[in-house]
Symmetry: C2
Subunit: 352 residues, 2 copies
């Protein structure tokens, strides 16, 4: 079992170190770990945020564990050299088309949410975001029109196969959860959404046990504040998914606890190839101070064990250890506590 | 002074009737009112949600007061015949490029928000949304690709003049408010946003007194939950504005109180040509029952008086009357009260 470890920038290396301790403590046999540079760290060493060697190591693995990228020192670089481009490059080159972002309120942490506790308590949604298409990867450019005006443009599109494969992922996820799927689009304005909606409806025929609904993205952004508890699984395109999943995280409040998976089509010997990362960023302001909360990173590892290595038991064991640590009051600074990075790592390892 | 009255569907006619009573009570001289059909109501009578005659009446006026459109009976019509298309048609045909959506917490109504009261209390933001461009009005179609796959696509773009004119509106609005402007885009992914950001920065040179910042749309959706009080004026494109402004309304909670203006470039004898509408929809479930809260409609009239007729005093008078009615506990069902449509109209008129 090969795992590529891409720690990245800012707090990435610190939280990755704790995830690694948890991994060590699980004493898995036949584990092959390969570290590689990514983001600003890679740019400084190799002149590119996603060096070929890193991509090769990631491609060769059964799963990729990813820390965070983002480096204020790179802000003035051309866009294609900025750390964030490494994420886009990994997603497209590795065919990671299905982004799974669970957002669930942790008991006792309702106060962390900006929402009223009685609303926040109900949040338990899985956002399934398409990650390889939409306006993200269409033709795009800056140009000067015939009349001399500058214009920026981006081509937004979805083809039926792109929608179908993400719809299948979402329907299957709904079967494994509450049986409800809400597809979010803007079909009253966009043809891309019209196609999206048609294909989702076609795909629904294979899942008579899942209750499908449709919602416009503006309404979804409202409902996520008014009554997020109404959602079970949401499936949506790349752009809307970017916005809604971040909004949902903030509704939960404790973004230091939220993990994500980006799955590809390739089946490995053990499960589905994928990349796993905390949803928070590189937090350069607290980097290197031992203050970062590694729980989202550790929970990302749990997702990796489940989806890519087929180790459901180990995944559940890690998740239970994190939940127990939280219950026992082991809280990072982001949750109003005082526990440092290593201390939280210790606490989780001790509860495995 | 010519005002076109487009009541539309659902609760539209009821709330329009109350706005009209308020207008009558102001006893403006030289007022010329022209009613016209729009939305599902227009489709049923004339076979189109935006008949030519309606467009002509609107174009000929100094301002348009718009109720709401949306009619479940029209759900199965082809897209171009659905009620909502009337809004898009009015926006593009009348050149209404600047959508102003103020979202402010009304004192005493913090409980209506999904956010914690201490966070909700701080909301006082004006969202300036571009309304004539972006992926809304680019080339779009459904097609079959050479390899036989169906694809839906939409062309997203902004040209520099489109960005510049909305940026000017936003900077001027910021000058008249807290002096802070946050431009929201997705410049780390979209060339359209890259151009947007460049032009906003260029325009800033004319407004040294305004503090300009930039935020990615996913972060803005988070910040709108975490700390909406940080925003003064937000300027953004058509698509992001659609999502963020609805999210902001729900953060305020009382969407029955929120008004909007959509301004064009044309200057009339009295002010700027524009269309004014409540941000809530046609609420077909309570239509015709005398239950709808007409306050957002009346506050839209106030915006009309201010921006299109240059009657700042009258506008302030109407707004004060609504605020006084709220203070006196005249609350519609949407705000947990029992006051009906006409009763609220009475209360506002009595307090003018
Ligand atoms: C960094 C950026 C390109 C990325 C995105 O927009 O997808 C990020 O916001 C995310 O959601 O992972
Ligand atoms: C009805 C729809 C086309 C419209 C939009 O997306 O602009 C609406 O959501 C709005 O915000 O006014």
């Amino acid at each position: 079992m090969k795992i590529a470890l891409l720690a990245g920038d800012g707090i990435g290396p610190e939280i990755m170190a704790q995830a690694r301790r948890v991994l060590d403590a699980l004493e898995l046999s036949d584990l092959d770990l390969a570290e590689a540079d990514v983001g600003g760290a890679a740019y400084r060493k190799h002149g590119h945020p996603l060096p070929d060697e890193t991509l090769a190591i990631a491609r060769d693995a059964d799963a990729v564990l990813f820390g965070a990228v983002g480096d204020p020192g790179c802000d003035n670089l051309e866009r294609h050299l900025r750390p964030e481009q490494a994420i886009l490059g990994l997603r497209s080159n590795l065919g990671l088309f299905a982004n799974l972002r669970p957002a669930k309120m942790f008991p006792g942490l309702e106060d962390m949410s900006g929402l009223k506790p009685e609303i926040a308590r109900e949040i338990d949604v899985l956002i399934v975001r398409e990650l390889n298409g939409d306006v993200y990867f269409g033709e795009k450019a800056m140009r000067v029109l015939d009349d001399g005006r500058r214009q920026g443009y981006d081509f937004m599109s979805y083809a039926e196969d792109e929608v179908r494969r993400i719809a299948h992922v979402a329907f299957r996820a709904a079967q494994g959860r509450g049986g409800k799927l809400c597809s979010v689009d803007k079909a009253n304005v966009l043809e891309t959404s019209q196609l999206w909606r048609e294909v989702v409806i076609e795909t629904a025929a294979d899942y008579p046990d899942v209750e499908l609904s449709h919602m416009y993205v503006d309404n979804a952004a409202m409902q996520m504040v008014r009554n997020p508890g109404q959602f079970d699984v949401i499936v949506t395109g790349n752009l809307f998914g970017d916005i809604l999943s971040d909004q949902a995280s903030m509704c939960v409040g404790s973004i230091g606890l939220l993990a994500s998976a980006s799955l590809g089509e390739r089946q490995t010997q053990y499960g589905t190839f994928g990349m796993y990362e905390p949803i928070h960023g590189s937090a350069p302001d607290i980097a290197g101070q031992g203050k970062a909360n590694p729980m989202a990173m550790i929970l990302s590892l749990a997702m990796l064990l489940r989806h890519s290595l087929g180790l459901e038991d180990k995944a559940a064991q890690v998740e239970a250890a994190v939940a127990k640590a939280l219950e026992d009051g082991v809280l990072g600074g982001d949750l109003g506590g005082t526990a440092g990075t290593a201390e939280i790592g210790d606490a989780v390892v001790a509860r495995l």
